[in-house]
């Protein structure tokens, strides 16, 4: 990941048409497809957050469902207990809740690396999951909490009578805009001096310390930002789903985030985004075909690790570079 002034030409070259395609999409495909892609974009935001920790700081978390879930439940609570309808208020609630939990869990987790870190994150998210059941009178237990469609832009945009139409048009553009902002912000963060410090920590913790970077402070901040991005994704997810349940706090959901980040390739910036979107399609179409979806994921993950450690985007990049070098 070399430094550069602004995104390299290559990236700008294909992101412009990609963005154009995304903008035009709702007008050319059936609404179902747009809503499906909205889920994909939401997961992509979660993947961006997740990969700040994995790809850039070298920390593999198996408990990111905690932040996605906190974001989602915060939205549900804000609607149910604070009676607020505005998406902006809900997003703020989601960010604050996931941020607070990430700050706390981060304090516990970032002193440790690798194994301890991984299992500790998993254990903490399981605690949240069990709390969602224990305090069922607050969280709705296994039934979860229903969330009505919120209003966008401070009440200017309302769902109206056709919820599906709202989701496949206005909500889609809302999510797309936030997605674009998230991508831009994360891009700047990873290319900032702070981002360089994180990568240094990833590459050589001791040397980072000896260059004056206080390793666990920086890890904590990365953890916090990562949790907030993932929490934001969780908050955006709820209105799509209409409902939040404890499932999204369970470690299996964390596993999905790990999976799609690795699928796309965690050594690149855009890999996790692509991985998340592709995964969303895979899951939607494959879940209908087999009950043993977890096993499929597991097998693919094993194959990825053994054969394609660079993930999809990473491998494509390598293949693209090789012919150029040969020429």
């Amino acid at each position: 990941m070399k430094s550069m002034t602004g995104p390299p030409r290559r990236v700008l070259a294909w992101s412009a048409p990609a963005l154009l395609a995304l903008i035009v999409l709702p007008y050319v495909v059936p609404p179902y497809q747009t809503v499906l892609l909205t889920y994909g974009l939401v997961f992509a935001i979660a993947a961006l957050g997740f990969n700040l920790l994995l790809g850039y700081t070298g920390l593999l978390s198996f408990g990111h469902s905690a932040y996605f879930g906190m974001g989602a439940y915060a939205v549900a609570f804000t609607v149910k207990y604070l009676k607020l309808e505005s998406m902006e208020a809900l997003l703020l609630g989601g960010i604050l809740a996931s941020g607070a939990v990430a700050a706390l869990f981060g304090l516990l987790c970032v002193r440790y690396t690798k194994i301890f870190f991984g299992i500790l994150t998993m254990a903490l998210s399981q605690v949240l999951w069990s709390l969602a059941f224990k305090f069922f009178w607050v969280t709705g237990g296994s039934d979860g909490l229903r969330v009505p469609t919120p209003t966008l832009l401070g009440g200017l945009v309302r769902a109206g009578s056709d919820k599906f139409e709202f989701l496949s048009h206005r909500y889609y553009f809302y999510v797309l805009a936030i997605f674009a902002i998230c991508v831009a912000v994360m891009w700047v963060i990873v290319h900032s001096p702070f981002g360089q410090a994180l990568q240094a920590i990833r590459d050589n913790e001791t040397r980072a310390e000896f260059v004056g970077v206080q390793v666990w402070h920086y890890r904590w901040v990365a953890f916090l930002i990562s949790g907030i991005f993932t929490g934001l994704a969780g908050a955006l997810w709820v209105p799509l789903n209409g409902l939040t349940t404890p499932d999204i706090l369970h470690w299996t959901f964390s596993g999905k985030m790990v999976f799609f980040t690795v699928l796309g390739g965690f050594q690149t910036f855009f890999g996790p985004i692509i991985g998340a979107v592709i995964y969303n399609y895979l899951e939607t179409y494959a879940v209908g075909h087999t009950v043993y979806w977890q096993m499929v994921l597991g097998i693919v993950l094993v194959v990825l690790v053994l054969a394609l450690p660079a993930g999809i985007v990473g491998t494509v990049r390598r293949l693209a570079v090789r012919p150029a070098k040969a020429a």
């Binding site: 194994i115 299992i119 500790l120 254990a123 224990k134 790990v258 043993y292 597991g298």
Partner: protein
């Protein structure tokens, strides 16, 4: 007084099983510096295989014949066999790579095993309660305590002693310890490190499988038990230190007693107390009480 004895026995029961699982995890880490995220699933696998074997042996009967108790280790042996296959195929290729890949691949393994058990045995719990009831119960004072639980506690104690003897008193144990302390040196001295690794891994899986096998008559085999066990085993090794068998024993005992106290007095926060204990230990002494980081 009687209730106190019952509580102590319950704690020891839990500690026995936790020692087997966590001890296996610690042994593997101590020798190979690997944490197998699917370790809990090997415990579950052992439970399922034993329950299945007992079920087959019973046929339709409800009373267990004495010879059926000999089936208990079947799960442990199956788990060991599975481990012996997994290490050379999935883990060995990754030793030279960054640790993240180990975690990722064992996580994939966790997903595969979870669904594999569902595929083979279905989504409903499998019982072997005939073995549990078959031993009856002991009465002392005003309390009744299932004899089977006492058997498990004894097995746990025997396993701890046996393992200690194995690691510290046998030739293989010496090789094991040498390899764990300095793999390169051991290899230079002619130790077949690959063989030691697969043997250590198999032993660790055997222990986990044994934990599942002995507890399945009491609580049945159910999907998801693997991950719950993994997290608890982790709490044990955090407290006792990863890589230390003595630490696994101490951690298991602590966890067993704290959990029993927790369930008795504050049933709602049982799980939280254990995690808090683990978090506290991690903050104060990151290597655990007896661990080497």
């Amino acid at each position: 007084m009687d209730t106190l004895v019952v509580h102590v026995l319950n704690a020891l029961l839990y500690a026995s099983v936790m020692f087997l699982i966590a001890g296996g995890l610690s042994l593997i880490y101590g020798v190979m510096r690997i944490v197998n995220l699917a370790h809990g699933n090997l415990y579950a696998f052992g439970a399922y295989v034993t329950a299945w074997a007992v079920g087959r042996a019973l046929g339709g009967a409800t009373e267990a014949s004495f010879w059926m108790y000999a089936l208990l280790p079947v799960g442990a042996i199956a788990a060991a066999a599975l481990g012996a296959v997994l290490e050379p195929t999935l883990l060995r290729p990754l030793y030279r790579r960054a640790e993240e890949y180990q975690l990722l691949i064992t996580f994939g393994l966790l997903l595969i095993l979870e669904d594999l058990m569902r595929l083979i045995w279905g989504p409903y719990p499998l019982q072997a309660s005939a073995l549990y009831e078959g031993l009856g119960s002991l009465t002392f004072g005003e309390s009744i305590y299932p004899t089977y639980n006492l058997v498990v506690i004894v097995i746990g104690g025997v396993a701890a002693a046996g393992l200690w003897a194995f690691v510290y008193r046998t030739q293989f144990g010496v090789v094991l310890r040498a390899t764990s302390q300095n793999m390169r040196m051991a290899a230079a001295l002619g130790v077949n490190v690959n063989r030691v690794y697969v043997q250590a891994f198999t032993l660790g899986c055997f222990m986990a499988g044994l934990g599942g096998s002995v507890i399945v008559p009491q609580q049945g085999a159910v999907l998801g038990m693997g991950v719950d066990a993994l997290i608890l085993a982790f709490v044990v090794v955090v407290i006792g230190g990863l890589g230390s068998l003595e630490g696994a024993l101490i951690g298991a005992l602590l966890v067993g007693f704290v959990r029993e106290a927790g369930i008795t007095f504050f049933p709602e926060v049982e799980l939280a107390v254990l995690y808090l204990m683990a978090a506290a230990v991690l903050m104060i002494r990151p290597a655990g009480i007896l661990g080497r980081a």
